[in-house]
Amino acid sequence: MRFKHIIGLLCAASISVMLAGHAFAQEKTVKIGAVYPLSGNAASAGVHAKAAIEVAMDIINNPHPEFGNFPLAKNAGLAGLGGAKVEVVFADNQGSPATGQNQALRLITEEKVVALTGSYQSGITLTASAIAEKYGIPFVNGESVAANLTERGFKWFFRVTPVAADFAKIYYEFLKDMKAAGVKTDSVALVHDNTEYGTSVSSVITSVFKDNGQSIALDIAYAVNATDVQSQILQLKEKKPDVVIMIAYASDAILYAKTMQALDYKPPMIIADDSGYSDPSFIKSVGKISQGVLNRSSWSVGPPGSPTALIAEMYKKKSGDEMDDTAGRQMQAFFVLCGAIDRAGSTDPAKIQAALKATDLKPDQLMMGYKGIKFDEKGQNVLASGLVIQLQDGENYVAVWPKANAEKTPVLPYKGW
């Protein structure tokens, strides 16, 4: 009997806590849902995304005059809605497309969010945005690069990030410039893992290069989380390509760097496709033997006192890690979404959708190095772009291309160790 009483009391207590929570929510807030992998294989990415969004919330909800003209920073809350605060409801997709969709549905129908952002893995962004489309809720994505996401005829899906085709064009243009400067770039080798990321990016690079008359001399696929890559390195060593493009996650990228040193193989140029080569653990463990590796990024810290430098500082304080390209792209998408809600002056999804469609941001209004933000009819940001950066000293990446954004000139050939 006593046990039953305790259970009864606990139930009553939990119900009252829930009711109290609802009462507080009556304050003027704008609720946005964020679905990220907070557990599972990609938990690290999800936790960093959460930190990035919390930093963005701080910037939006509290007055930050030090940001100058950076949108939404100056005053507290969203001016367009009378200073309403932004509240984000986070949900865990557990790395599963089904869970991601369930959580998106819950956020829309139970939490009554006015818009959604997320969900890191392309497959989960696909299923979660499908439910948002059915309910007519805007979904703004900042980081998923699978090409098919914007090919579905959706009206409520907006993607801020550059996609694989944009990166491929960056690599191609960069190589063309280098060729004009006298660097040999005729034979290109691709090394990629067999995940969704590795296969899709490598196939896009291959087709973009082919369209421009540049063939891929060697295409090496390997199983992700490799334990030995000697045969792959030996293949490269035998073919002697002028340029090696690496598409790999962090643990594999580290193994490649170590194996290259062990087998004494230095290609004239290595271009890495973000991910593993941008990971703090890569730079910490093998940065010193990977000097001169080129990489792409849309994030650059910028001069001290600039909004980007302030954001980098706030993010480091929140998460304990340096700001990276992925977290930056997620944060940028969140700013775009909040900016649209601010301009809509309403939490009506249709008005937010209209404001998103009318988005026209200039580079000085962004934290990422895009040429701007403007969505085409498919919802893709047509002004998304990136920089080529280089790990010259083995510790920090510096921007080296295009010339307009370059901090230093590219140093070639690849130095290694």
Binding site: A43, K50, A91, Q94, N102, F154, N194, T195
Partner: protein, 330 residues
Amino acid sequence: MRRLLWLSVVLALVVAYPLLFSTPFQQRLGALVLLYAIAASAWNIVGGYAGQVSVGHVVFFGCGAYAAMGAYAHFALSPLVGIPVGIVISVAISAIIGVPTLRLSGHYFSMATIAVAELVRLIVTNTGYLGAAVGLSGPTVPRNVFDLSFISALPYYYLFLAVLALTLGITWWIANSRMGFYLRAIRDSERAARSLGAPASRTKLYAFMLSAGLTSVAGALYAMMFGFVDPESGLGILISVKMLIMAALGGAGLLFGPLVGAAILVPLEEISNNLLGGKGAGLTFVLYGAIIVLIARFQPGGILMLVKRMIAKRRSKLPSAEARGAAHAP
């Protein structure tokens, strides 16, 4: 008589559930319970009744899911067309892998099925036609009703309920046929069953094939509801484990065991994720795992077994002759 009454009450509740709990999330939760109950019930035929613990059932789940999405992605047909295709392919695969692996017993059979499942996942990951690592997606904006792409979970709920009823009907029919007796005899002691003339190999194979076909239907329904399948969500080993755990939790080898297991685990997983997932501490699976450990420790026969034993105990206390007879029944 009493049993029939209880059954009809439960049935009425199941039919009325989406009307009683009518928010979209609750309806979807109900549909998910039924979906996993279909998969776990299909597994139960070979894993529960025949005692052959397959951890490779995700292969058949994936066959159904890929067939349904493939019908749409490659031929612009309704995913429904994929259901019979998925059944045919998975029954064929089950026959091919069943003949050699069903000769193995105990853990060796389980290990062989894991190996097959991983093999299939790797092959699909590297097959461009099946979307490789990117996966295949279904019709997100429905062209007509046959695309089975609805906003509400209500149509899914009743569709899944019908399929579950069919699955349970087939299971019941098998369990009470000659084959069912063979299967239980094989589970208790295959050698004894063989010595009494039960065609063990053939019976196990038939059960495996039937189970495979029904699992593929569950896979196809899953893909239609979520509109997407990739190697991890369609062929990941965790799906096999889920089917197994649900059946074991409810009561493997009992008709309603998998349904009870799904009705406990699916809400547990979803609701704990709703409450704890957003914190980013990964508590959901800690809780989920703890409950599984507790049940495995204290009630390995499954929850339905516990209920049955309690009913039997209560009846044995009553002096009526009928009740005493029931208590002594095996």
